[in-house]
């Protein structure tokens, strides 16, 4: 090797090592990856909720909650009776004792038969007995209307299950049925047959009445021979995936379902 070649080679080796050193020093400081936030469940809802699910806001003063029985004069201070949960108006502008509505829908016992509600039932303020001599301060009744309120409004429960909740329910059921929906690989035209199947369920999610075909769409002379098989595929899907895990408090919503099976969109 000639001298000039040697120097050149040496210089280039030195240069490369230097570059690598710089880069590796850079990489040595490990940077922390930003933490990803927890994924949020998103539910795509087809129908907009045109009926409000929020109960009406009463314009009158809320009806005073009354204890079912007036506590007897205290000699032996019986324990206060817990008042039964009564239908209450939603947050009126009053702070305390305005109860906060609970987010989870509870099926409270309605005083009269009404459609099932997703209405939060706020707990009634506890009725306090009025002892003659207590450790309570004289202003403990502050905020509690002593006078009987003139207002008589008992705001009704929500008139309907909100479409939002309905769609959530439909999506939940669909997700449980779909994995069981298999169809025979057939002529392309058979896949345009739409089957409407009615299913009635018991409270535990199992089938109460066997699925029944209630209608068909998309049947033409070419795919008519496959009608029965496509209906059976839909019926079989419902039978295979039973029993279904559905919220018990919405039972009245899902006890009677009409499914529309469209085989055409192949997954």
């Amino acid at each position: 090797m000639e001298r000039s070649e040697r120097t050149g080679l040496g210089l280039s080796v030195v240069g490369h090592i230097g570059l690598l050193a710089i880069l590796s020093l850079n990489l040595m400081s490990v940077r922390k990856m930003p933490k990803l936030s927890e994924p949020m469940d998103v539910m795509l809802v087809d129908k907009a909720g045109l009926t409000s699910a929020a109960p009406e806001i009463s314009k009158e003063a809320p009806q005073a909650a009354e204890a079912p029985e007036v506590a007897p004069t205290i000699e032996d201070a019986p324990p206060p009776e817990p008042a039964p949960a009564k239908p209450q108006p939603a947050p009126a502008p009053k702070p305390a004792p305005a109860p906060t509505p609970k987010p989870a829908p509870k099926a409270a016992e309605p005083p009269k038969p009404t459609p099932p509600a997703a209405k939060p039932a706020p707990p009634a303020p506890p009725a306090k007995p009025k002892p003659k001599a207590t450790s309570l301060g004289t202003d403990f009744l502050k905020g509690i209307p002593v006078d009987k309120s003139a207002g008589k409004s008992t705001a009704p429960r929500a008139a309907a299950i909100s479409p939002l909740a309905m769609n959530g329910l439909a999506a939940l059921i669909a997700s449980q049925v779909k994995p069981c929906y298999t169809i025979p690989a057939g002529g392309a035209d058979a896949a345009s047959i739409v089957s409407k199947i009615r299913l009635r369920l018991k409270k535990d999610g199992s089938i109460a009445v066997a699925p029944e075909v209630v209608g068909n769409l998309g049947v033409n002379p070419a795919n008519q021979p496959y009608l029965r098989q496509m209906n059976e595929a839909a019926t079989r899907a419902l039978q295979r995936c039973a029993p279904y895990k559905l919220p018990a408090d919405l039972f009245e919503a899902w006890q009677d379902i009409v499914f529309t099976f469209r085989p055409a969109q192949m997954s």
């Binding site: 080679l9 280039s12 080796v13 990489l27």
Partner: protein
């Protein structure tokens, strides 16, 4: 991570140091390939067997006409110049032995469907027959048959084999 980088650095350094870019031209070039002598054609027909060739027989035909086969282009059934020369020689032989009836077979390569190739083979055989008739051979002596792709002579699936299989054969009885 840093250790890996150092390893990479070391390896590249080693690689660089041994990549001696020697630019010296080789002292001598390797000798050029020797010029190949043109292949000698030693395909003279083998001497006839001890029994003499019977005049008017197939062996005689082959000896005199040279070959019994003409070839065609893909999907074609026209007689090209080379085929014309061959067929002319065949016609001359046929004129000398006017009592001999021959069969002309048409063949195709494998790149056609069964029925179509039967028809195409017939076209080729018929084209050869027409040429012979024009060259003076009586048509009643010439019968035509097609074997489509059923009887290839070359077994490969390549252009060369296919070219050999696209043919018309004049078959003289033994």
């Amino acid at each position: 991570m840093a250790r890996l980088t150092m390893r990479i650095a070391l390896v590249s350094a080693l690689a660089l140091s041994v990549a001696a870019c020697s630019k010296k031209k080789p002292e001598e070039l390797p000798p050029p390939p020797a010029a190949t002598a043109p292949p000698t054609t030693t395909e003279t027909p083998p001497p006839p067997p001890s029994t003499t060739v019977v005049p008017g027989s197939r062996a005689d035909f082959l000896a005199q006409a040279g070959t019994d086969t003409i070839h065609f282009g893909t999907d074609l059934y026209d007689i090209d110049a080379e085929s014309q020369a061959i067929l002319s020689k065949q016609a001359q032989w046929l004129a000398r032995y006017p009592n001999t009836a021959v069969t002309i077979e048409g063949h195709c390569d494998e790149r056609g469907t069964r029925e179509y190739n039967l028809a195409l083979g017939e076209r080729r055989a018929n084209a050869a027959k027409n040429f012979l008739v024009n060259a003076g051979v009586a048509p009643s002596r010439l019968s035509v048959i097609s074997y489509g792709k059923e009887r290839p002579v070359a077994t490969g699936s390549d252009e060369e084999s296919w070219a050999q299989n696209r043919r018309a054969v004049t078959v003289v009885p033994q």
